[in-house]
């Protein structure tokens, strides 16, 4: 069955937190990664079947990583129904960046549904984000993921889709 519902979601986070790897792990079709360095965004699509039975097509805008949102990045965010915030567990400062970005995004998109991903869980031993911080973050809507192993990736996107389509 073809999905008649489509939703735009954005992936935001600091540089090299693994957003593009997450997308590659998750999506059906994608344009070349070159777009990230040229246009500053990479579009991918993914059909998701929700537990309730409905199907949704996610249009994933993977926005090039920056500490702050540029003008063009703000444009790319417009019309998004939700977003995935990504931080690198091995670099604590990327979490700070993610939270700063969230503070910018939320007013722009009128507090949309979102999910946070503490990525690179496969390198848990090297994580700078402490266990205590993790516990707090998990309560706030974050989850752990590994683009390398696929852990937590699909579940995060599904959760976001469910939040967008209550």
């Amino acid at each position: 069955m073809n999905a008649s519902i489509s939703k735009k979601i954005c992936l935001i986070g600091d540089f090299a937190v693994g957003k593009t790897s997450l997308v590659r792990r998750f999506v059906d079709e994608a344009f070349s990664d070159d777009y990230l360095t040229t246009v500053g965004v990479k579009i991918s699509t993914k059909r998701v079947r929700l537990p309730k039975g409905s199907e949704v097509k996610l249009i994933v805008w993977d926005i090039a990583g920056h500490e702050r949102l540029s003008t063009v990045s703000k444009t790319y965010l417009q019309g998004a129904s939700g977003y995935v915030l990504v931080a690198d567990g091995t670099r604590a400062n990327t979490l700070q960046t993610a939270l700063a970005l969230k503070a910018q995004v939320d007013p722009l998109l009128h507090e949309p549904p979102w999910v946070g991903l503490l990525n690179k869980y496969d390198l848990e031993a090297e994580w700078e984000v402490t266990a205590t911080q993790q516990q707090t973050l998990l309560k706030q809507g974050w989850s752990l993921s590994s683009a390398k192993t696929g852990t937590g990736v699909e579940a995060a996107f599904l959760r976001l889709a469910e939040m967008m389509l209550p």
């Binding site: 008649s4 519902i5 489509s6 939703k7 735009k8 059906d28 079709e29 994608a30 344009f31 777009y35 246009v39 500053g40 965004v41 579009i43 991918s44 699509t45 949704v56 097509k57 249009i59 805008w61 003008t71 063009v72 444009t75 790319y76 417009q78 019309g79 998004a80 129904s81």
Partner: protein, 506 residues
């Protein structure tokens, strides 16, 4: 004081003058006419205010639809009359466009079926593995819309997508988003204002035309080169789409089913124009068939001109030759020969002693035309005519030459013996002619030989030639001997007749 009056007193104490006001208001509300007037005064302002809220539209939608439906049912002609100027031109235009496209397509395909192009396309189809019809269609299309993507502004979400049957398959949602991203990227990178928009993107044989509206962008992926006014038509189509579904476009929540109604409208955007081989080089040179026809006509004309010229030439030659031949006839002067209908008219002069028209026709020989003579009589001084007038009983033999000199007719040439004898006889009868000089006249030897042999038929003699003389050998009868002597006398100086071994025997 009664209880009632106490109540009224209490009312007047509490309300004072407002009591009258309340009564007036009560009367106003209870009067339906007055109430109607009051509502009418504020109705338009109230509607205007309420229109800003979706609730009024929702509330009015069904009753208005029912009212319109009922109105159409009751008086369909009036509605038809109202819609006539809008609907019929649209239907006519649609039919014309469809037929024109169909006819052009059939025409093009028929023309190209057995062309060199067809062979090339077969090779291309074989090489690329594509169906031949697809290759043929791609090449026969001057330009054609392959995809129409209606995209929500900002979000880049695909609202509706229609594509041609032979269009390349693509993830239209991703394309829609990427086009929006690229448009945003270009605008943010090179422009400071939102008014400047990306109109066209070109790559290879494709061009994407982008028409921008308040809520949505219409992207048309065109193969080939669309006409310059194509973008304007695309914008008009987008305006129509906005007019039909502005709210759905603005409030799109990701459910494309909300926009199913605009799909027929979007289908209108499919344009294509086919290559017309006949007209391909029309501007620069005429079609080959026209050149061929022109060359044929020119050829026929040339041949005709050459044939006519040749005919005229030979005709002129024939006229000239006929003129020369007739002019050579003594006693005849040809002034001109004209062509009239299917015959020639010879105009000139003819001496009555000259050849008759019948004889002239024989002289003219075969000319392939009827000849009519228009000859006036005149007196000819031609020597032959003068001779005929002088000696009308004598025909002119072939070897006789007649000339005039110093007022005399000079006869010369070789003539038969019999003719010479008749001439001498005639001259003797007419006592000779001082105007006739026959000194140079000679007798044709072979004819003399035959004549003398015939003359001496009663004798046993043989007449032979010996140089310029005749030899008579054998036995002569006395009569023949006498005749021979007389002849020898007559021909003295003209013909030498020698007798050799002859004897006169009774």
């Amino acid at each position: 004081m009664s209880q009632h009056s106490e109540y009224e007193e209490l009312q007047s104490l509490l309300l004072g003058n407002n009591k009258q006001l309340l009564q007036a208001l009560k009367a106003r509300i209870e009067n339906p006419e007055r109430r109607t007037r009051d509502v009418a005064e504020v109705l338009s302002a109230a509607l205007h205010l309420a229109a800003q809220d979706k609730a009024l539209r929702t509330a009015l939608r069904e009753p208005m639809q029912d009212a319109i439906r009922d109105s159409i049912r009751r008086n369909p002609h009036e509605i038809a009359d109202l819609l006539y100027p809008v609907i019929f031109p649209a239907i006519r235009q649609s039919i014309e466009e469809t037929l024109r496209a169909f006819v052009e397509r059939i025409d093009t395909l028929i023309q190209q079926r057995f062309s060199v192009h067809a062979l090339k396309w077969r090779v291309e189809a074989w090489r690329t593995g594509l169906p031949y019809t697809e290759v043929m269609l791609r090449h026969s299309i001057k330009y054609g819309v392959e995809h129409l993507l209606l995209i929500q502004n900002q979000s880049g979400l695909l609202l509706k997508h229609v594509h041609s049957k032979d269009a390349l398959k693509t993830d239209s949602d991703a394309v829609s988003a990427m086009l929006t991203a690229i448009e945003s990227f270009v605008r943010d990178s090179f422009s400071n204002t939102d008014k400047e928009r990306l109109d066209r993107i070109t790559f290879g044989q494709f061009m994407i035309h982008l028409a921008h509206g308040p809520h949505a962008t219409l992207a048309s992926v065109v193969r080939g080169l669309a006409p310059p006014d194509y973008l304007m038509r695309l914008k008009e189509l987008l305006e129509d789409i906005h007019a039909a579904a502005a709210i759905q476009l603005r409030d799109f929540n990701g459910d494309t089913r909300q926009l199913d109604a605009i799909e027929p409208l979007l289908q209108r955007g499919f344009e294509r124009e086919y290559v017309k081989p006949k007209a391909k080089h029309a501007a620069s040179r005429p079609p080959r068939s026209l050149i061929k026809r022109g060359a044929m006509v020119a050829g026929v004309l040339l041949i005709g001109i050459v044939a006519l010229s040749t005919y005229r030439h030979f005709e002129q030659q024939g006229i000239a030759a006929l003129g020369q031949r007739l002019d050579a006839v003594p006693g005849v002067v040809v002034e001109n020969i004209t062509h009239r209908g299917d015959h020639w008219v010879v105009t000139g002069l003819r001496d009555p002693y000259a050849a008759t028209p019948e004889q002239l026709l024989e002289s003219a020989g075969k000319v392939g035309k009827k000849i009519t003579f228009n000859l006036h009589p005149y007196v000819s001084l031609d020597p032959e005519i003068i001779f005929k007038k002088a000696l009308p009983d004598l025909e002119i033999p072939a070897g006789l030459k007649i000339a005039t000199e110093s007022g005399m007719l000079q006869l010369s040439g070789q003539v038969p013996l019999d003719w010479y004898l008749r001439l001498r006889h005639t001259l003797n009868e007419t006592q000779g002619s001082p105007l006739l000089d026959i000194r140079n006249l000679q007798i044709d030897l072979p004819s003399a030989e035959r004549s003398i042999q015939n003359l001496l038929a009663g004798s046993n003699v043989l007449v032979t030639r010996n140089a310029d003389a005749l030899l008579v050998t054998g036995n002569l009868t006395p009569d023949d001997a006498t005749r021979l002597q007389a002849l020898i006398g007559q021909l003295s100086g003209k013909l030498s007749i020698e007798l050799q071994k002859t004897a006169v025997t009774p």
